[in-house]
Structures are given as structure tokens and as C-alpha cells.
Subunit: 308 residues, 2 copies
């Protein structure tokens, strides 16, 4: 019985140290070294090999090494193979930091002040109390809920939207497509933390932007293909959106000639909002291996019909 | 008995509404309308008139209409006149927002990403957990303590320095000039929230910067004259400091030809970190008027020897 890691090898060596300490009985290999393929029961990968069961005929669990599973081609994976998302505190803390930073930046007009700085203009904008700023988070999974908890601490007027019904203290929760318009109509700063699925692809488009209050801000930390780029540019240029802070694009890296780079109302970061912390990620996987051994439910098990 | 407000008249009209509602028996005037000068017992001002006791012979209390009192020339004010700083929740919340935004920006390399964006470069920097980022706040008054409480919530390794000894849960507290070097040596992101006094003028200079770890970040939300501008430019250019986020300068507004405007490692905002919210400010002053009437201690009373 062995474990194979197929992702960034620098992080892989940190995983190897933790596994050697915490699970010394389980051989740990870093791709392309896989040891005896018949022994491999567990694979942690960002991009699994094609023909996965030919490479690892006795594979029992496939772990994603990062936050999403949209990089997996479900149709190329055996239907009975359990897939596990990465849900670990390192990812959550990083996302809470980024979303807090981005929402505060929009709330306090930082993109405006940067434009003013370039032209040496000293001009204060009016400050609204956080309680008068309505933040809305699309996606109420572990990341969305953690971000909302922090935003509430600043006193923002918080709401969340999700496909299914949630109840979160101090957060007005909206569910399903029928409640999306009401959610958008009350949202001054929209944060997208949705997983990439067939339903969310292209969701951030002109129709959605038109339902926000004029001048709303956008923080996009979901996945690039959720955003219709031409619609964002049009909404910014027409003033329907004020400013956008984007951490994800399509493709990544964004090509140098792309109009987002030099747009005065777009702040771009290179998909850094949140990254797996090797230390805590390895511990979460080890905990799931223990659960698997004991026949308990795996944390972060993917529902393939739902797509995440 | 009457009250005179001498500051931004737009805010003054909001104060007038609140006073009319909460203290209808007390006539409220907005400068230059002062009513009968002999009746004026209370003045809220950013810049009091010269010869204050000639203008208001029966003045009992002078309130600052903003956070600082360094704009007052103590030597021009009667020594027995009580001076009161503005300590109100609107100022505190605004400052907590700004400091959180700025510390997160430096922690997550946002100035670097903005420089990269201008040259269309997609390049992620390593992310450190907040617990490995040592934030140090200079000044442990109500603003410093509120900022530290929020920063602790993000998991930063927090310390504070003040002239006098403080004890704050979860914050390593340093006191006095003898402990300043140890405080600086453990500080990756330095936040200045000190009042402007003879001791703090020019404090942020080459000697201080040299005691920080190489590449440290600076958030300056104190007062412009605390910073030696040439020393900041040298420290940034030598890499002793990584990036600086400045909300205060000397003078303000900063002249258009000043080198700070176009410096690639300086983010400038036009003294907007925190502003009095007229609603809560007026309530705090009304509460102090009640205390004065009842012979209780005034909140925010200035110790002139200390300077704040």
C-alpha cells in the first residue's frame, strides 16, 4: 500500500516530510517516481495521469492537491473512484485575507486613490460607514462562510447566495436562481467564490452586472471561465460597475496583450488569493486516510453530479 | 449658554440636527454665526480663533472636531481651558478598516502585483501564513488597540509599542525608548499611529528604519511631520524598506512635484484613513457636555504636558 503525490515537487517534499513523520508505515512517492504501481492506493494530484486505472490499477482515492476539482475531467475518471476536494485551513485563511483586502479596497475607494496618485491629485472621497456598504458573496461553502465571518467583523451589511439554502448568523441568505435578482439588487460589492460548474460558467455576464446597483464593485476569486470578459469591460466602461479586482482569468497566465492588464478600473493578481499550505494540506489528507481506513465519511468528498 | 461649531460647515449642519434633537435647550451656532459671544460656553473647532478668550470670554471647554489636537497651538490657549480630543467610534472604525487593508496589502504583496500588472507580468509570490508575519503598531491608544484587535483576528503575530506600559491580550507590548529597538527588530510591518508631539516629530527616520528587518513594510497613519521624507526615500531605494503606504504627509496636500507621488514603492492616500462621522461625533460631544454638567471627568481630556 503506497501514496503518490503528483503536483508541485517543492511542496511535495514538504508533504513527504510530514508523511514520514506522521505515517511512517505508508510509502510516499513523488511523481514520476511511483514505486510499484500495483501498490498505489492513494493519489494526490492537480492533474491526474490519463488512463488513471491503467497507471494505478488498485487506486482507492484521488485527492485534489488544490482547492478546486474543475481541472479534473470527470468523464475520464472511473465513476466509482472517490474524488476528494482540498479543504484545509491554509486555503481558507489565505482566501479570508484576500477577500477582506479586496472588499476593504473597494469600500475605501483605493482604486480611485491609485488613479489619483498617478496624476498627483490629492482629493478625498466621502467615507461611508461599513454598515451602509452591502457586501454579497456568491458561494457559501467553507471559503464563502469564512470570508463572511470576517467581513461581518468589520460591520459590513452582509448577504450570501448559494444554489441551496443556507442559514448563517448575521448574514442574509439567498438561494437558487429565483432569489438571485434580489441578492444582486442589494449588493454594492459582489464577491464570487463559486466553484466552476456547467451552471456557473459565464455567470458573471452583462445580465448579472445589470442587476447590481450602478457603480457596484466586483471581487472575482472563483474561476476565470465564470466571467464573460467582454461584458466586464463594457460594464466598467459604462460605469455600471465601478472597479473590479480579479484574481482569476481565462486563460492563466493572462496573455500580455490582454486589455485587463492596462485597464484603469481593474486590479489583477496572478491567482494568488489562496494557496494550499503544504503543512496543513498534508495533515488534512492524513486525516482523510485515517477516516478511509476506519470506514468513515471522507471530508471534501466530491458529488460529481453537482460538480464539486 | 450656547455651543459654537467652527469646522467643515457641511458636517456642522449634521451636528446641528443632532443637537436640535438631543439637546434642544442648548443654542447651536455654526461659525461665523456665533450669537451672543458672552453666552458661548462650548466650542468645537479644528482651528480655534486667535485670542480665543477675547472672542469667547466665558468659554468653558474646547473640543477638537477631529482625531488630533496637534493643530492646536497650546501656547496660544489659556492654560486653564480644558481641551478635549475627539474619541468616537466612527474614527476608530475607519482607522481599523484602513490599517487592516494596508497591512493585508503589504502581507500579500499587493504593491508588487500592481507593479507587475503595469508590465503585464503574471508571477505569483510565495504566501506566508499570517502567523509568520510580525506586525508592530506604534501607539497604543484607542486607535492602536482597535487596530491590533482586528489584526489579531487575521492571525498576525502582533506587538505594540507605546511611551507608557500597556498590557493587551495576545499582543506583545513594549514600552519606552529602551524597548523600542527590540520592538523594531521583530517587526515585518510597522504601523505608525502615534500622536504628533515633540518626541514623535521626525521619529520615522533612517535610524529607526535601520532597526527593522530588511525589506520591512511601513504603514503611516500618524502625522506627516513624524516622517523624515528623505530617509524614507533612501530606505526604499536601498531595499531596507520594501513598500510604504502613507496616508499623511507634510505638507498636506502634497505638492504635485513631490517624489512620493510617482515612487513605485509608495502608495499614497489623501489623509482619508479615518474621519469623524458627524453622527457619532456629535453624540460623543453631547455625552461630554452631560459629564461636564454633572462634574464628571471628560472623556478624551488632553494632558497638555504629554501633548495629547
Amino acid at each position: 500500500m503506497s501514496f503518490v503525490y503528483k503536483s508541485d515537487p517543492v511542496r511535495g517534499r514538504l508533504w513527504a516530510e510530514i508523511f514520514a513523520r506522521e505515517a511512517p508505515q505508508l510509502p510516499f512517492h513523488i511523481w514520476p517516481d511511483i514505486g510499484d504501481p500495483a501498490e498505489v492506493r492513494f493519489l494526490a494530484a492537480w492533474e491526474p495521469p490519463a488512463n488513471i486505472l491503467e497507471v494505478f490499477p488498485n487506486l482507492e482515492v484521488l485527492f485534489s492537491s488544490g482547492a478546486g476539482v474543475d481541472q479534473f475531467d470527470f468523464s475520464a475518471l472511473p465513476p466509482e473512484l472517490p474524488l476528494v476536494r482540498m479543504v484545509e485551513p491554509g486555503i481558507i485563511n489565505g482566501m479570508v485575507e484576500y477577500v477582506s483586502w479586496a472588499v476593504l479596497a473597494l469600500h475605501r475607494d483605493m482604486p480611485l486613490y491609485q488613479r489619483q496618485q498617478r496624476r498627483a491629485q490629492w482629493q478625498a472621497a466621502p467615507v461611508r460607514p461599513a454598515a451602509q456598504c452591502r457586501v454579497g458573496v456568491l458561494g457559501l461553502g467553507s471559503l464563502g462562510q469564512a470570508a463572511l465571518a470576517q467581513l461581518r467583523g468589520f460591520g459590513f451589511n452582509c448577504a450570501g447566495w448559494s444554489r441551496s439554502r443556507h442559514a448563517i448568523d448575521g448574514v442574509q441568505c439567498f438561494a437558487g436562481s429565483t432569489e438571485l435578482p434580489a441578492f444582486l439588487a442589494r449588493t454594492d460589492i459582489l464577491v464570487c467564490l463559486l466553484p466552476l460548474t456547467a451552471e456557473t460558467r459565464g455567470l458573471l455576464n452583462a445580465t448579472l452586472f445589470a442587476q447590481l446597483p450602478r457603480g457596484a464593485g466586483l471581487v472575482h476569486v472563483g474561476r476565470g471561465p465564470q466571467l464573460v470578459e467582454a461584458d466586464l469591460l463594457a460594464a466598467l466602461d459604462q460605469g455600471q460597475l465601478g472597479d473590479a479586482i480579479l484574481d482569476v482569468t481565462d486563460p492563466e497566465p493572462l496573455p500580455p496583450e490582454h486589455p485587463f492588464w492596462q485597464h484603469p478600473h481593474i486590479w489583477l493578481t496572478p491567482h494568488i488569493a489562496s494557496a494550499t499550505q503544504p503543512e496543513s494540506a498534508a495533515r488534512v489528507v492524513l486525516d482523510n486516510l485515517r477516516r478511509h481506513r476506519n470506514g468513515e465519511a471522507l471530508l471534501g468528498l466530491v458529488d460529481r453530479a453537482r460538480g464539486y
